[in-house]
């Protein structure tokens, strides 16, 4: 299982590349003032907004992403490949491109935003815009989790359940979704983390106003200008959340076999 020895120095270099910046961030922190920096009004306001919007975005991703994963799984051949590529694009899209795309869809002059604006519904510069941006970038995590879980899960149990007289809805609720549990948990946690970290699309599309659209990453970006210590403190909060989330998200999948 262990590779040749010359892999070791490369692995060490790789580890340093990832770990060193994180250490650098920790080294810059003014630990004595950590608590007061995090509990400052602007920081708390941003953290609370981030938490609120990320939870709503995650719920939205669950409600829409799971059916999307099923739909994608149901497609076949080239159609599926193309659909998957489009749906997963936000995963690899530069955030600012995502922001522009959202702007031209939901912005005041966007495809949907324009007519909505005429009807008196404004999304721009509201917390709704933040949630949309977060859901946009987080959706792929749920879709890809569900789709790949369905691919390995197969459809035998569902077919057997049908012979036992169960309706499609009952099969979905009682057989398929429970079997997808670990995948759904992973997708949810990753989507939440991605929503929490969303920056580019929010900045481009939703704007930045304290308590309304200025989430933690935006607050960090702004605080950098005048109060680098606060920026570092908030960064460490997000770093801790990120590390925790990844630890939580990857354990159950490895540890629990689906039967």
């Amino acid at each position: 299982m262990t590779g040749p020895r010359w892999l070791v120095p490369l692995a060490v270099a790789g580890a340093l590349l990832v770990a060193l910046p994180l250490v650098g961030l920790l080294a810059r922190a003014s630990w004595g003032e950590m608590w007061s920096l995090i509990t400052a009004t602007a920081s708390l306001e941003a953290l609370a907004l981030s938490l609120r919007t990320s939870l709503v975005a995650t719920a939205l991703v669950l409600v829409l992403g799971v059916p999307l994963g099923f739909a994608l799984h149901a497609l076949q051949g080239r159609v599926r490949a193309v659909a998957r590529a489009v749906l997963l694009a936000p995963l690899v899209l530069p955030p600012v491109v995502g922001g522009l795309a959202l702007l031209y869809a939901f912005g005041r002059r966007g495809l949907l935003g324009g007519p909505l604006e005429d009807a008196g519904v404004s999304i721009a510069y509201t917390t709704v815009a933040v949630v949309l941006a977060q859901a946009f970038v987080a959706m792929p995590f749920m879709v890809v989790s569900v789709e790949s879980a369905l691919a390995t899960h197969g459809s035998r149990r569902e077919a057997i359940a049908a012979t036992l007289g169960a309706s499609r809805t009952r099969i979905l609720a009682r057989v398929t979704l429970p079997a997808l549990g670990p995948a759904l948990a992973t997708g949810t946690v990753l989507a939440f983390a991605r929503a929490l970290g969303e920056f580019g699309a929010t900045l481009t599309f939703a704007g930045s106003l304290a308590g309304v659209t200025r989430t933690t990453p935006l607050e960090i970006y702004l605080a950098r200008e005048t109060d680098p210590d606060a920026a570092v403190a908030l960064s460490i909060v997000l770093l801790v959340v990120a590390v925790t989330v990844v630890a939580v998200a990857y354990r159950p999948v490895a540890g629990r076999a689906v039967r």
Binding site: L103, G107, S208
Partner: protein, 256 residues
Amino acid sequence: MRSSARVVAAGVVALALGGCAAFSPDSEGAPSTAVTHVLDVYAAASLSEVMETLATGFEEVLPWVDVRVTYGGSSDLAAQILEGAPAAVFASADEAQMAAVADEVAGEPVVFATNTLTIAVPEGNPAGVTGLGSLADDAVATVVCAPQVPCGAATATLAELQGVDIAAVSEETSVTGVLGKVAAGQSDAGVVYVTDVARAAGVEAVAIGGADAVVNRYPIARLKRSDFAEIADDFVAYVAGAEGRAVLADAGFGAP
């Protein structure tokens, strides 16, 4: 005094990073370009077009110099300089950021340009903005720079002077953020600098009466770590001098 070893090292770096001129066919018969000195200039993003012109002009005067300009927000650049970035010259969009790197500056910074605020509106001015007073109206979706960044600080000062309470829907981190939203029609108005509107597409300016009360100054300085002090000083003088003045004026910058 620099050690000769350091000069050699700098030359090697210059060759490796920027200067292939010595070996390229174009340089044949031009012995003066046998060694190319790279001059690293860190300039505020709002200077991007003019600094390009100035760099080219300077290279025509001193053909063996390759002016390499790095653009960014002034505070980003200042932070990078403090972290040891190899900048020879720093042209900041505000004096505060120049002050932040004071320990790195050789000599006194020179103010080479000024700028004043204006209102950017989407083409056709759909919200009918007439002046700073219009921006107090909730119906006009206005974006400004956050008070923490230079353009926002200036905006806040001017608004206070004029007794206007701007109802901003977003406080952006940069002028680019403001202009982007105005150009896309996502907002009805944004407060930026005169030169920013001149550079941007899809927006037009609505002048602010009394904008002269808040003038933003652009300082430029040589940094202590510059390897070729004379060239860096020459560049600073060039930008602050008559040639520079003409280019800057063309772009809408005011005289110091």
